[in-house]
């Protein structure tokens, strides 16, 4: 009992022997890692190393790609999300996902973009929706910028604002985890800095997993860093240790820019 309690408080995810394929190509090989609750964990590695796939395996989005396959276990709050009786829709509701390119729903207003997740899950009370929309937009620092134009289209915003809108949209369904797939790679440096600050703030209440190919970003925002290479988890530990005293030669080569 006591051990389980500890597991629950310390780790949000426990990945065990995770393998993933696209068709016959194996992109993840025997990944084992534990992801801590209310911390920012960064996944770094060269292009094509499987970091995005690993992220998408955490909320069962990987399997939505045609010909994609997964084996192994991912425990989320102690429950294996790949168990047969687990509904992927329920899992995804507990995890917000932010994509590389901001993807607000183009035909919806700013308000509706944030409210849609709740609406389609049955929340109709206008007052409740209003307050959640305001709270989420405030959390991402967008409220002051858009409060007078909530009915404007979500795509009328700048790229950085759109990405924060997407984060607000993800927060609105009250997830426990935020999964981010290179969330700032399509943004200018100022917008990116705002998102990074936001990530630090989010880590107070949420478990954040962020895939990034920007090592400075990983060093700035994350508490833990995982280095993936060719589908294998090469090294995983506190960010400070990974960047200052990497144990593995490959990790050192990668973070010093010798390859990748």
């Amino acid at each position: 009992m006591v051990m389980q309690y500890e597991l629950k408080t310390m780790y949000k995810f426990e990945v065990e022997d995770l393998n993933a394929w696209f068709g016959s190509k194996q992109v993840l090989k025997n990944i084992r890692m534990k992801i801590r609750d209310r911390k920012v964990t960064a996944i770094i590695g060269p292009s094509g190393c499987g970091k995005t796939t690993l992220l998408r395996c955490l909320n069962r989005m990987h399997e939505t790609t045609p010909n994609a396959r997964v084996s192994g276990k991912v425990f989320f709050n102690g429950i294996n999300i790949y168990d047969e009786d687990v509904d992927p829709v329920q899992i995804r509701r507990k995890m917000g996902m932010i994509f590389q390119k901001p993807n607000p729903f183009p035909m919806m207003s700013i308000y509706d973009n944030v409210a849609i997740g709740l609406r389609l899950n049955g929340v109709k009370d206008r007052k409740k929706l209003d307050s959640i929309v305001e709270r989420c937009l405030r959390m991402v620092g967008l409220w002051e910028e858009v409060k007078d134009e909530l009915n404007a289209s979500g795509v009328s915003l700048s790229g950085g604002q759109q990405q924060r809108l997407c984060i607000a949209r993800a927060l609105a369904v009250e997830p426990e985890v935020i999964l981010m797939d290179e969330p700032t790679s399509a943004l200018d440096p100022i917008s990116a800095a705002k998102i990074e600050m936001l990530i630090r703030n989010l880590a107070k209440d949420y478990t954040v997993v962020i895939v990034t190919h920007n090592m400075q970003q990983a060093a700035r925002v994350s508490d833990y860093t995982a280095f993936l290479y060719l589908g294998e988890l090469v090294e995983y530990g506190p960010t400070k240790q990974i960047f200052e005293k990497p144990r593995n030669e490959l990790t050192e080569k990668y973070i010093t820019g010798s390859f990748g």
């Binding site: 045609p66 035909m107 997740g117 899950n121």
Partner: protein
């Protein structure tokens, strides 16, 4: 040098003349039809034309019953054809990729090219044979003409919705069917409406399937198991009639249908242009 240059110039001119004369040749019949219909049709236009039903010989009358009948038929045809066409389009775009969807797409394309009289005969054997010439039979035949058009345009419209939008919805924990209905379909709304309007414009001008499924009717609507009057069919029947007042009505109906098509096409343009 100089010679080859002037030859090239002559060839260039010849090509230009050829293209322009083809264009004019193609436009002559088009404009002569438009003008002919317009000047003859305008003579029929009056208040009575829009509010009175088909007249008897020598009386004044109008096409009000035909407008009503056409609207009823188109309405019922849309009720039958649009949902099925829409769902087929959704299947092809969202759940496609299998062998079955290739087959469906192929059959759908074949159906688009089927002569409308064949579809009319199909409606005749299936419905007229049991309940008689009726709105239901005509609408059924028209619905079958609509389905492949709506299905195809829906599929194309849905394919224009980027995959990232579907992913965003799925990642929010929205079920697949809700994602399709509330996110993807609403994103493709304009394209789908365009497809439905195109299909409506197509069936509004159909007369052959109407002839074999409903026939001629000169009174008002009196039930779905009875025929109604139809604009396109009236043009054919009135134009070949010996009565002067009917021939005028035929021109008037032709003008009315032409303006209707123009209206639908302008509506499509307006709808597809206006975007966020």
């Amino acid at each position: 040098m100089r010679d080859s240059y002037s030859i090239r110039r002559i060839k260039d001119r010849l090509m230009l003349i050829l293209v322009w004369s083809s264009l004019i040749l193609a436009l002559i019949p088009l404009f002569s039809i438009l003008l002919e219909v317009f000047f003859n049709g305008v003579r029929a236009i009056s208040l009575e034309f829009f509010i009175l039903p088909t007249p008897t010989v020598g009386e004044t009358g109008g096409i009000a019953n035909a407008i009503q009948g056409t609207l009823v038929t188109l309405g019922l045809a849309s009720l039958m054809g649009v949902p099925i066409g829409l769902m087929t389009g959704v299947f092809l775009s969202e759940y496609g990729g299998s062998k079955l969807s290739y087959l469906v797409r192929f059959i759908n394309d074949v159906l688009t090219g089927l002569p409308s009289i064949v579809i009319g005969i199909f409606g005749y054997t299936l419905i007229v044979a049991s309940i008689g010439f009726s709105v239901v039979a005509a609408s059924f035949a028209l619905a079958i003409i609509m389905i492949p058009i709506v299905a195809r345009t829906t599929e194309e419209a849905l394919k224009l919705v980027p995959a990232s939008i579907r992913e965003a919805a799925l990642a929010l924990g929205i079920q697949r069917w809700k994602t399709t209905v509330f996110i993807v379909l609403s994103g493709a709304k304009k394209g789908i409406v365009t497809g439905v309007l195109l299909a409506l414009a197509r069936i509004a001008g159909e007369s052959a399937p109407i002839l074999v499924t409903m026939g001629y009717w000169r009174w008002w609507f009196s039930g779905f198991n009875k025929p109604v009057s139809n604009l396109a069919l009236n043009i054919y029947l009135f134009a070949i009639s010996p009565f002067e007042n009917w021939r005028v009505l035929a021109w008037g109906s032709a003008l009315f249908l032409m303006v209707l098509m123009l209206g639908i096409n302008i509506l499509i343009r307006v709808l597809t242009r206006e975007k966020y």
